[in-house]
């Protein structure tokens, strides 16, 4: 006898967990299927947790969630080959509880999140891959897993199966991912004694520092680097668009090795011991790459739906929020006695449109294209900015006015006046 549930959630990452938690709390029967050995075992993220989205789901999450450090200082660095120009923002107001941002380790966090979901009453099955969706005409009626006796039925299936959503692709809900719509990120965790981290980054207790980096570390490819402080480790990584990797013929680990050797970065890692190397795809196609999000008996949430704000480095919060809205849509329909048809599930999209999720995605919808077609933002400008800083800071008997002139000249030479105006316009349009 095959089992039947109200809802099957495929995937136990942030979006799947958010959806399953909500549904289980509302009393629906929920089965969650996870491919990994345990929730989080397949997941990779920097990782920063933004409190807001999780707070809506689990208000008391701070009591027992495995969090690393709360972020009190954010650094933004623009790097050229041997220097960086940066801004640091540190505020003691970030030390006031409740904290707003934390560093975390996803393997631990996801496990904790999933325990909460199971406590709420959802049934979790791990190490099981959903091979395809069971269809009755156009309508999704369940899933087929890779195990003997693998058919399981449900009134609705939520696809929270991550960036490379094979299920949706197989069912023809969206086309194959395009290399220009995904970033490939690599990350290392370096173990470092707590005292060393505290001294090196000027923090104490649970305080943490985040460094976001752009510039020549990505060799002109569209991407960013980061360094996050955990309790007893440093996470360092870099991600660029898959299409750029392909064109540049550089491997991700080479890129990370070169970044780690940068004279501004290398000293921060000294004395650490590399413990973990991971790689993952990040859906960064933005608003224009968002697939169809619902249909008869199915919905897409999280990375599978391209919900990543690449500009603000947000992803897991969007995942949780989309998961929550998908669940709330089903709960609402169930309470009204309505079917989970495409026409009714339209409410999910409407909810997203109303929320910050779609508003933010829309705001930056041209960003991917702008950066794609304009490598100067990752190559020329870091050089120029750094050169400018160096010129102004070098005391060599040249008067400041002449120096300013030199700087302006260097910008014009590299990008031409027309190019500079154009770049400014493109950025303004993209961020508008």
């Amino acid at each position: 006898m095959s089992e039947k549930f109200d809802v099957i959630v495929v995937g136990a990452g942030p979006s799947g967990n958010a959806a399953a938690l909500r549904l289980a709390e509302a009393g629906l029967s929920v089965l969650q299927i996870e491919r990994g050995e345990s929730p989080g075992s397949k997941n990779v993220q920097g990782a920063i947790l933004y409190s807001d989205a999780l707070e809506k789901l689990i208000p008391d999450f701070r009591d027992d969630a495995p969090l690393e450090r709360h972020v009190i200082e954010q650094r933004m660095w623009v790097l050229d080959d041997n220097s960086f120009v940066g801004s640091h923002y540190r505020s003691d107001s970030f030390n006031k509880e409740p904290y707003n941002r934390y560093t975390m380790i996803r393997a631990q966090f996801d496990k904790w999140f999933s325990e909460r979901v199971q406590k709420a009453g959802a049934l979790l099955i791990c190490e099981t891959t959903v091979s395809h969706l069971l269809l009755d005409g156009q309508r999704v009626i369940g899933v087929m897993t890779d195990r003997q006796g693998g058919e399981i039925y449900a009134d609705a299936v939520i696809l929270a199966d991550g960036v490379n959503s094979l299920l949706a692709k197989k069912a023809g809900f969206h086309p194959e991912l395009k290399p220009k719509n995904v970033a490939l990120a690599v990350k290392e965790i370096h173990f470092m004694p707590q005292e060393m981290i505290e001294q090196r980054f000027g923090v104490k207790g649970d305080e943490g520092v985040v460094i976001e980096m752009v510039g020549k570390i990505t060799k002109g490819m569209m991407g960013t680097g980061f360094l996050y402080t955990n309790r007893e480790s440093i996470a360092i990584g870099v991600g660029c668009m898959l299409s750029d990797f392909k064109n540049q013929k550089i491997t991700p680990y080479e890129l990370l090795e070169q970044m780690k050797a940068h004279p501004s970065i290398q000293p921060m890692l000294e004395g650490g011991e590399m413990k973990e190397y991971t790689a993952h795809l990040i859906p960064e196609g933005g608003f224009n790459a968002i697939p169809n999000l619902y249909g008869d008996g199915w919905m897409i949430v999280g990375d599978a739906g391209m919900f990543v704000n690449a500009v603000h480095r947000e992803g897991s919060n969007l995942a949780m929020t989309t998961g929550m809205h998908a669940a709330d849509t089903l709960i609402e329909l169930r309470s009204e006695g309505k079917e989970f048809t495409s026409a009714n599930l339209k409410r999910y999209k409407a909810r997203l449109d109303e929320s910050f999720v779609m508003k933010d995605m829309k705001k930056y919808k041209n960003m991917p294209d702008v950066f794609h077609t304009n490598p100067q933002f990752f190559n020329d400008y870091p050089d120029l900015i750094s050169q400018a800083a160096r010129t102004m800071l070098t005391v060599d008997g040249v008067d400041k006015k002449t120096k300013e002139k030199e700087i302006r000249k260097s910008f014009r030479q590299r990008r031409s006046l027309f190019g500079l105006m154009g770049d400014a316009f493109k950025l303004w349009r993209a961020f508008e």
Partner: protein
């Protein structure tokens, strides 16, 4: 036939980290797995169940989180699972552990007579291979270690025939049941759990026993008090200062290579050169 399989949840030694200062194992973030040797024991028991019928009960002693190991065993097809957990067990060495498990098996036996007990050859965290034999001793069972294959079980005559790997060959052994068998790695390949058993594992209510429920009356027989083993010192082997050197070889001339090699050796041990020169004369 009723088979009890003793399993242990261990940190995945492939992913273990040692604290650089204290040399202790850092368990945080290291995934816990079922001791790989125990899975061979479990699969061997499940195969016997397939062949002769009966029940398989998995048993473990450990912290509450060890429940995950039992659930996994259920997903493979075990019928029942017992977790023996109590603060009193903290710090148990192999002697105290075998006492506790033997006592728990006696309790299980009261519900349904136990014909066979399976364990892995050893655990990957302790590497002692003592608990299995310790249980057999305390239960007065026949002991068969390093078993590579169970040939047959004769339920009527209470006999079991196994192959045991020993130095220089394989022994074919027959003994009477009840007996305890420690299973060698590579004996079999663990089956892929069916969807039905995955559901069963997720829903199964594991039997959790504390010290009294496991039938252990004497507190001093378990935990630190019941453990004569003392860890006097933990240290990491000092890394060897001597580094290997790769000699670049130009062309395929073996003579040239050997001359380079000898020159290097003699440079390091000048006496050796004189010695050899003397003998050559």
């Amino acid at each position: 036939m009723h088979i009890v399989v003793c399993i242990k949840q261990v940190p995945d030694s492939a992913q273990i980290r040692v604290h650089p200062v204290t040399n202790t194992i850092m368990r945080q973030g290291v995934p816990a797995i079922v001791n790989p040797y125990d899975l061979f024991a479990l699969e061997e028991a499940l195969k016997l169940k397939d062949k002769y019928g009966g029940r398989v009960t998995v048993l473990t002693m450990g912290p509450p989180m060890a429940e995950a190991a039992l659930r996994k065993a259920i997903s493979y097809g075990a019928d029942d699972a017992v977790l023996v957990t109590d603060r009193a067990f903290a710090g148990s060495d192999t002697l105290a552990t075998s006492c506790a498990l033997a006592s728990a098996i006696t309790q299980i036996h009261k519900d349904m007579p136990v014909d066979l007990v399976f364990t892995g050859k050893q655990t990957i965290d302790g590497d002692t291979a003592q608990v299995g034999p310790g249980i057999a001793k305390r239960l007065n069972m026949q002991l068969l270690t390093y078993v590579s294959k169970v040939r047959s079980v004769d339920l009527e005559n209470h006999e079991i025939t196994v192959e045991r790997r020993s130095e220089g060959g394989v022994q074919l052994l027959k003994t009477s049941t009840p007996s305890l068998i420690t299973v060698l790695e590579g004996t079999n390949e663990m089956r892929f759990a069916t969807m039905t058993n995955m559901f069963r594992a997720s829903r199964y209510q594991i039997k959790v026993w504390n010290r009294e429920q496991a039938g252990i009356e004497d507190v001093t027989s378990v935990g630190l008090k019941g453990s004569p083993t003392v860890v006097s010192k933990v240290f990491a082997p000092t890394p060897r200062a001597v580094k290997a050197e790769i000699i670049q070889c130009v062309g395929d001339d073996p003579k040239e290579l050997s001359v380079t090699l000898l020159a290097k050796v003699f440079a390091k041990y000048p006496k050796l050169e004189k010695e050899i020169a003397k003998r050559a004369v």
